[in-house]
Amino acid sequence: MAITFIKSGLQTSIQDLGRFGQMHNGISQSGAMDSVAMKMANWLVSKPLDSPVVEITLIGPTIKFNSPMSIAVCGAIFELILNKHTSHKRVIPSNTSITVIKGDILTFGRVQQGARAYLAFSSVIDLPPVLNSFSTHLTAGFGGYMGRAFKNGDQLPFSTGSNVSKREIKSEHTPCYLGNYLLRCVPSVESGEFSEAQQACFFAQTYKVSADSNRMGIRLNGKALIIDKSLQIMSSGLTQGSIQIPASGLPLISSVDGQTIGGYPRIANIITADLPILGQLKAHDKLRFLLISTEQAMEVLEEKNNKLAKVFTA
């Protein structure tokens, strides 16, 4: 049992929730950048929420199914067409489980909202885990499918298949990606090193996402903060969502494949609950930041987890 990537897409790779317990070895967690969309896709095909999926970025693949199964696509809204060049072509929706048969071809067309979609399968992907995870570490070249993104012609093997009941997630529960975001943050290690003027400049402005953004980090364009070049920091562990301010004065947000030890001062850190938004950012999207307390951040996280749990018991 397998699927064939007739076209691989821009950056299509196997991801799960991430590889944990290895950051002290310089190995970042990797994993789906939008973990919420990933979990939703898995739920739709009745798989454990942390099952490996295919992460699709901006330009999607064309996939041929060589055996029957159920699939689901969540996250960014792509035009999805089944059997495009045939008389029985049809547009299929995201956020719903779909049955495919042998010979079906799924084409990802234009992306309308967001940046990354997650394709989950009812069948089990037949790949070995590396360090307890199926996530691909693109920089170091291991994990997932041969340690890399898919190329044209690749075949992804599956083992057992199963019939699953049809599921859908109602639109009131699926996020929109409208390209204008408010990211909540809490203090980070060097927050206190930034002057009131610098903090004011940072929190007041609307930044734009740079095209130079990827799974390692999100770069922002906007009004540069004036950086005191003599500011020495002790490099320490770099957590996801850290908003670093390098010499350029423009923020660099650390993401799933970011370095494990940072060298730039951090003005704030995006709250855990808002990290999945990083996976949906694309060039020219607008971003603002809001500082909240750690207590509020935890309340937000709990509330969000409760909401998601309700969706998964529907």
């Binding site: 590396v130 340690g147 203090p187 490099s235 030890i261 207590e295 996280l301």
Partner: protein
């Protein structure tokens, strides 16, 4: 009469909403790295499920923990704080309290030799370093291969070793414009540090040589390698990484022929996707 205000030996800061960082006042040193690695080992043993990551650095330890809400988070932070205080007391008084638990990271420390070819082909920035230092390239190589560098921690990239002990004369500020792609195995100097790029990567350090040996081999993974490097049971069998924190590393100069022979034996280094 002047009053001296003692700075606290360490302080705890939030590192996002699911991590804290212990920042030490002490200068970068072997003693401090020993303390940090011991603390990490003790915490990992005490909270095997709660703690997701422990990231040692030159003067800090970052602890990422699992939490899903406010009540749990507050309780976890309090537990950690208490435990960190207790562990540090233990670690400070190590001369009088020598338990296996504390001494474990100090057992099995190795000196690892890393062969490096410093020939022109692999050392584009060696002449620049020599010029900056006012030395011949031969003298630079001698000064680079003499020390037994201490591994303070791993980080930045898989298997990248942060080494302490670079000869002061070889210090050289990073390039203003980093190179887009440095070949895996490149041996470099950046600021006051020296190290080896374990995978292909952009970087701003000066390249003075190349090693044919792989620093990171994910196929040699052990079960629970997390435990094996930070806590007690570090085994002799092949590790994923060429060295661990508190090991020492010495560079050994080899010829191009020897370099090619090692590659022929082991294969090319897997440099990753870059």
């Amino acid at each position: 009469m002047s009053k001296s205000i003692n700075k606290p030996a360490y302080r705890l800061v939030d590192n996002g909403d699911s991590a804290i960082t212990v920042l030490f006042e002490q200068a970068i040193s072997e003693a401090l790295s020993v303390k940090i690695i011991q603390l990490a080992g003790l915490l990992q043993k005490a909270f095997p499920v709660l703690i997701v990551e422990l990231i040692p650095a030159y003067q800090s330890l970052t602890i990422m923990y699992r939490t899903s809400g406010l009540e749990e988070c507050t309780s976890i932070k309090n537990k950690l704080l208490k435990h960190i205080k207790n562990c540090l007391v233990k670690v400070e008084t190590v001369e009088t309290v020598e338990t296996d638990e504390l001494m474990a990271p100090l057992h099995n420390r190795k000196v690892i030799e890393i062969p490096v070819c410093y020939q022109t082909k692999y050392a584009p920035d060696l002449p620049f370093i020599a010029e900056q230092a006012g030395l011949t390239t031969t003298e630079v190589i001698k000064r680079h291969t003499t020390p037994k560098y201490l591994v303070h921690m791993l980080g930045f990239l898989p298997g990248f070793l942060y080494l302490g002990g670079l000869d002061k004369q070889l210090h050289c500020a990073r390039k203003a414009i980093p190179a887009l792609r440095i070949q895996a195995g490149s041996v470099a100097i950046g600021g006051s540090q020296t190290g080896v790029y374990p995978v292909n990567s952009p970087g701003g350090w000066h390249i003075i040589g190349r090693t044919p040996v792989s620093l990171f081999n994910v196929n040699n993974q052990l079960e629970n390698s997390f435990k094996n490097t930070l806590a007690n049971n570090k085994e002799e069998s092949q590790d994923m990484f060429i060295a661990s924190p508190l090991d020492r590393v010495q560079f050994v100069s080899i010829t191009e022929k020897e370099f090619d022979a090692i590659i022929a034996l082991n294969g090319e280094i897997n440099g990753g996707s870059n």
